[in-house]
């Protein structure tokens, strides 16, 4: 659902980081962490990202997607837990519930109870978002500080100067 919108936001975050990097030539890899509660389809997202990144420095970058399991925390007793695979399947396949969760994952919290103390006050601490974790950038041979130090290292004859 609206993976294109999300892809555009990812591209913006990638381009910000690209612009901050001296000597950056192109993005070779984008690592994404997609929370299962975002109910974003990873393959639709991958395709959308490929399309929107055409004619940008991120064109043809490898797109690595890690699916992140949700994690809940009880606000009463502090207990933290993760849902089982069956729970996740049930949420994603229920059309009404999955749509509500997609728009506002916090809605899911109202359906949860703490397995330890039974409280309804549950927070979702992980699994709602789509995180742009990191990118690999190919840099110009002449650019970047760390890069120049590396070149000096290589040009020193073995055994010291």
């Amino acid at each position: 659902m609206h993976e294109t919108s999300i892809a555009l936001s990812i591209l913006a975050a990638v381009e910000d980081a690209f612009k901050e990097t001296p000597g950056a030539k192109r993005v070779t890899r984008i690592r994404l962490q997609v929370g299962m509660l975002s109910l974003v389809d990873p393959e639709a997202l991958r395709f959308a990202l490929k399309v929107v990144s055409r004619d940008t420095p991120a064109e043809n970058a490898e797109i690595e997607i890690e699916m992140v399991k949700p994690r809940f925390r009880c606000l009463k007793c502090g207990y933290e837990w993760e849902p089982s695979d069956e729970d996740i399947e049930r949420i994603s396949s229920d059309p009404q519930l999955s749509t509500l969760v997609h728009i506002n994952p916090d809605v899911l919290a109202s359906y949860l109870t703490c397995p330890r103390c039974g409280s309804n006050e549950v927070d979702i601490v992980r699994g709602k978002g789509v995180i742009v974790h990191s990118i690999d950038i190919e840099v110009d041979e002449g650019g970047g500080q760390g890069e120049q130090e590396q070149m000096k290292e290589n040009s020193r004859p073995p055994g010291g100067a």
Partner: protein, 230 residues
Amino acid sequence: MVEKVVKFIGRDVIEENRKKAEGLRRLYDEAGVAVLEFLGGPGSGKTTLIERLVERMLKDFRPQEIGYIGGDVATTLDTERIARYGVRHVQINTGGTCHLEVPHVEAAIKALGGVDALKQLKVLIIENVGNIICPFNFPLGAHARIMVADVAEGEDKFIKHPLSTRVSDIIVINKVDLAEPIGININKMIEDAKRLNPRAPIFLVSAKTGEGLEELYQHLLGVINSSRKG
């Protein structure tokens, strides 16, 4: 030789998008303007309804205190209609996107003259792109989201679009003058809408004949006044 740099980003784009709508609402509150967003399928009568409401508003507000942002894939037709009333106005053409998003509205506010322009307004009407599904997924920070569904779209409109119905603050059933000739059971529509969304008031109107308009206007006036106080 270092050829590759790994750049850590760690940004959650879903969270960022959600915060943008909250940012817009803060902007409206800072400027003291009440924002009413109209959503609904294409041809449901949003623009005609807004024309009638603006006409009525001009008895309580001055034209320069009313603003209008029209969202459409193409043309300036809707905005031209509202511009005739002398209100502040700007058209957004999405060029293909089926709904308005925060960046569209940010650009429109900039075109109107930014926060300073917003401060001159008491009410800002945003008319979203004609679409009964997508716009409901993209909040624009409005104080009230008004869903417009007309009887000619069919009795099942609300049950077929539960999410749209649920997230609306006010529900308007338009073109009620057509219900009898077409054979539409309005009571069924009301029941469906109430079941899905118990808290949203439902107004039966005909923008064409004027039926139900004053009740709707009085409710919106209440929303405008309480939104500007908060």
